[in-house]
Symmetry: C2
Subunit: 338 residues, 2 copies
Amino acid sequence: MSENVNRQVVLRSRPSGIPEAENFEIVQKPIPRIKAGMILVRNIYLSVEPAMRGWVGAAANYAEPVPIGGVMRSFATGRVEQSAHPDFRPGDIVTGMFGWQDYTLVDAESIQRKVDPSLPISTSLGVLGLNGLTAYFALLDVGQPRTDNTVAVSSAAGAVGSCVGQIAKIKGCRTVGITSSEEKVNLCLNEFGFDAAISYRRDDFSAVLGDYFKQGVDIYFDNTAGAISDAVLSHIAVGARIVVCGTASVASWDPPPLGPRVERNILVKRARMQGFLIFDYAHRYSEAWPVLSDWVRSGLLRYREEITQGIETAPSAIASLYRSENMGKRLIRIAAED
Amino acid sequence: MSENVNRQVVLRSRPSGIPEAENFEIVQKPIPRIKAGMILVRNIYLSVEPAMRGWVGAAANYAEPVPIGGVMRSFATGRVEQSAHPDFRPGDIVTGMFGWQDYTLVDAESIQRKVDPSLPISTSLGVLGLNGLTAYFALLDVGQPRTDNTVAVSSAAGAVGSCVGQIAKIKGCRTVGITSSEEKVNLCLNEFGFDAAISYRRDDFSAVLGDYFKQGVDIYFDNTAGAISDAVLSHIAVGARIVVCGTASVASWDPPPLGPRVERNILVKRARMQGFLIFDYAHRYSEAWPVLSDWVRSGLLRYREEITQGIETAPSAIASLYRSENMGKRLIRIAAED
């Protein structure tokens, strides 16, 4: 690649459901010039998140849609190239919502944090980034796990789900992972330490699911919604907590698809179903980082990354995530670490 | 009626949905004889509750089904006729789960409380009974109203809904009642002090509902589920609390009917949907009684009762409730107050 341009992945058209490669275009722009108070970041890793589907949709959401022609919104981690701000120096590793591009000129408030380079810096976008933070606050604050609770997790081998399962184990729970293939079942069991795991693609999924939940589901950490959730909800225990963290299995919400009504089950089980959005917890991230970092260092919290090379792999990355093709946190490396 | 028999309303057959008169039969049995430690109660008022549908259903529920041939489970208020327990004397007014029958022989633990006769004793089954307690704990504990919150209530003119609206007003909220007729709209506005009220039977119900919720719904107190809830849920505010207290608008839950999936809305709005069952709060009833009684005495908490005469009106009473025919707490008087 040329060192003199800033390649940007911009949104070309708005998908009705899951964004595909053709919804994006890679354009070349000049590298931004440093300005007073600003920091120029050379991005190294770009993140790929299921939430990006919502960010490019036209429907009302928790964030303004990425405008057509705008750089794709994304967390990224990079190196400070130039700094006109006293808190940052060239060489610092920083993370923030820098977008899918080579270079980002930001003010200090837009930098989420300086990354400690004693752990792999890619972790700042996964297990120590939005995914780990989501697992931490959604499970602990909304799920409120207690010792010996049974915790069911959908997308259990994913970047969030794998953290949820491990944090639940740290808190003394029994964990059951629900995932999309036998290969990922093995990953859940052997890499992420789930007590049990099952693929929802098994023909007998609904029929056998009850065998995993003899005492009922105390916490259902829902990353998928849809038919997977319907199956799990039929096994919730009295007082169950359902953490609605993602809706990955539903292709389109406009209009919302039909499913079995939940009110009677929620009532009879005195269950709580609650939506979670990590950005509501921004003021508390600094509580979680040291805890998560210690768990990663001690091996209690393991992670997998699947890193593709080059910004040209970005446009197709979200669709790939929704096809459940990845075996770990999906990242794109667009520059060398040093 | 004969003073020498105990008339009982027994469950003759199990309804698939709402229990009708033909599901019950009135039988005559001997009056139970007093025994050591027991209390014989002559029931005066019998209660009619939407929850009775669940109590007679075969489906798993929060309580064991009433057995075929068993006396219909019900709260009732009556006078102690004979007592072989030091805490109770003939003439005491007591309330408890005495069933649809003239006489009930109970132990002291089965008496919920002695009723203060300085307020009408029928209130022990409504505004100071299960309905008032439900409104109190479900709204305050689960709904967590804050000043200026907008509170939507379905079955707003009903025994629970009317209390919810008034308690929400006491807590400084703006209240919108949803009910089944223009007559009940007037009741909501003029008797129960709702800020606004609307009949869901209006043709333009879904279309105009948003006009009532310009700032969004902070608390939805759901007594109905179904299409009414779908309409309200499309207007919830960020951080909304949905108290699932009843499912009166859905005729049968076996199997659960289809409705629009809620997960995306719950997620995007970071809403909380939670089931409530009053019996979980039995250890806290004594907190609520003095507060509710004070509100009733001071006129802050008004109530309506619709009392039919004679135990022969019991078998058809539940179905009548579900046809929204009543204009207040539905009670059956089966003996004189004194």
